[in-house]
């Protein structure tokens, strides 16, 4: 089978489900709104980081990105719709690749637009407090943030393929991201910075003091996503649909 028609079909699946388009819209709205809010709030913190403040909407926004990745996959498992999909495209690897391409593509485009809008919105509020940011740092933050959204969506997609359930994914991933880093935080020493969210968020800070830099951090997050996708693909390949 050719890849292009399968890709077109998968893209059409996202476009014809209002909930999926809504989730992408939520990524944009939530991130931009929280960044704008951070821009106008007090910035006299000791470890104030203007880039992270401007892009702090990522923290709530990533939940929507995770939900997007999870729901694109879980919508297939509703009522065993996956059987219909795999009867239409029996080459499971190709089908999965097309699905991931659609998730990655749409999350990246929305992510880039979102981070750009969030930066603009926050800078409007920050004013002089953001003067210290160079153009390079801002570009890095915007691009990195877009990639981060994409990687989180893919991580969720991989886990959902493994669990065959969006609920299982969300209830694993969201507490993980919201809580774990704070709970084990300092106790675990340098380990927390290698968690998918912590590693990936280095790119949206102006300065970093850990082992990971902006791009190596994203690479670590990509490693997590890749691992989740491989496990998901393995499960998809081996199991009865």
């Amino acid at each position: 089978m050719h890849f292009a028609p399968v890709l077109r079909s998968e893209a059409l699946k996202v476009l014809t489900l209002r909930s999926l388009c809504g989730t992408l819209l939520a990524v944009f709205a939530v991130t931009t709104a929280f960044s704008a809010l951070a821009g106008v709030s007090d910035a006299s913190d000791a470890d104030y980081d203007p880039l992270f403040t401007a892009l702090s909407g990522v923290m709530p926004g990533q939940i929507a990105a995770i939900a997007f990745g999870a729901v694109v996959v879980s919508s297939e498992y509703q009522g065993n719709g996956i059987r219909l999909s795999l009867a239409a495209v029996p080459q499971r690897g190709r089908w999965f690749a097309a699905k991931l391409a659609v998730i990655a593509g749409s999350a990246l485009v929305v992510g880039l637009l979102t981070s750009f809008a969030a930066l603009l919105a926050a800078r409007a509020g920050l004013g002089a407090a953001a003067e210290g940011l160079t153009a390079g740092e801002q570009a890095r933050g915007v691009v990195g943030c877009g990639i981060y959204f994409m990687l989180m969506a893919l991580l969720a997609a991989g886990l959902t393929t493994l669990f065959r359930s969006g609920v299982a994914t969300l209830s694993t991933l969201i507490p993980f991201i919201l809580v774990i880093a704070f709970v084990i935080g300092d106790a675990a020493g340098g380990v927390t910075e290698f968690l998918p969210d912590q590693a990936g968020q280095v790119v949206i800070h102006q300065t970093h003091d850990g082992t990971l830099g902006p791009w190596t951090g994203l690479a670590v997050t990509a490693g997590w996503s890749m691992a989740a996708l491989l496990v998901g693909a393995w499960r998809l390949r081996g199991r009865d649909a």
Binding site: S9, T16, Q78, G79, G81, R83, L86, A87, A88, P90
Partner: protein
């Protein structure tokens, strides 16, 4: 010629054998009824043919090739497995557009099958607002989308209203007349008898019968003759002379078992017995099926499908 070939197919779920060394061929140009109690392995066999479940051993092929190597499979095989498979938040039209896109089926086919299955007027409504019968029609529309030579439907008359049942019967007959290969599972005997030419019967995953429907019935159920008369004594005497016996039913009819209407008609009229009504009672598929499953008592035990 595109047939479905199942060869020594076995599928185990844990320790349970859902399909047990099954071998049969579904040929084109006729409707093959796929019968068996719940859990006999009908749906599992269909999933194995579609490459959705992996067989423990054996093979299933469509037109001589495994389903998974078919190029744009919806153009060769159309299947309805479960009417609930369409996502409730999509419209019926979008559901079909998504399927059509993946197999490069032209968009006009979407409107054609919507028209053909009688849901064109509700095609822009979300599937979750559909009744079971409408979903069933949508599932059939999806099966017909690629104009396939092979059509495989699992319990298509579920939830259909009386008009729908007549419609599906005519649709199946037409598909077979067009030379397509049609496999239809059902547990409704009278329904199956109305459209099937050939039968494949399963019990606990094993093949119990693979014969033309008429032969299947005639081999198991003897025809009988029903008579209404105003002179029962004369009737009994006339029948006795020809070595037949008659049993009186509650409704005033006499039934002559194991007899053909031609013989009985001649015999009683020659004897001058006043006949008010005379008819032949052909064996039904239901009787034949129950006779078969009674003989294979172990197969009638209810076994819920996975």
């Amino acid at each position: 010629m595109t047939s479905i070939d199942v060869q020594n197919l076995t599928k185990e779920y844990g320790t349970r054998r859902a399909v047990d060394d099954l071998t049969f061929t579904v040929r084109p140009g006729r409707v093959t009824g796929f019968l068996g109690p719940n859990g006999a392995g009908k749906s599992t066999t269909m999933r194995l043919v579609l490459g959705l479940d992996r067989p423990t051993s054996g093979t299933a092929a469509v037109g001589g090739r495994p389903y998974s190597v078919l190029h744009e499979p919806l153009r060769h095989v159309g299947a309805l497995l479960d009417a609930r498979a369409a996502h409730g938040a999509r419209t019926a039209r979008d559901h079909l557009r998504v399927l059509a896109a993946s197999n490069r089926i032209p968009a006009r086919r979407v409107d054609e099958v919507l028209e053909e299955t009688g849901i064109a007027s509700v095609a822009r409504r979300r599937v979750r607002t559909y009744s079971l019968g409408m979903r069933q029609r949508l599932g059939i529309a999806a099966a017909l989308l690629g104009d396939p030579e092979v059509v495989m439907l699992d319990e298509p008359s579920n939830g259909l209203d009386p008009e729908g049942i007549i419609w599906i019967r005519e649709l199946l007959r037409r598909l077979a007349a067009e030379g397509r290969t049609v496999l239809v599972s059902s547990h409704l005997m009278n329904e199956t008898a109305s459209f099937a030419d050939h039968l494949v019967v399963l019990g606990r995953g094993r093949l119990l019968a693979d014969t033309p429907m008429r032969e299947f019935i005639d081999a198991r159920v003897q025809p009988s003759v029903r008579i209404r008369t105003s002179d029962a004594t004369a009737l009994k005497a006339a029948l006795a002379r020809h070595g037949h016996d008659a049993v009186e039913g509650d409704d005033g009819y006499w039934t002559v078992p194991h007899a053909r209407v031609d013989d009985i008609g001649r015999a009683v009229s020659a004897a001058g017995v006043p006949i008010l009504e005379l008819s032949s009672a052909e064996g039904t598929l239901e009787q034949a099926y129950l006779d078969l499953t009674a003989a294979e008592a172990e197969f009638t035990a209810p076994y819920q499908e996975a």
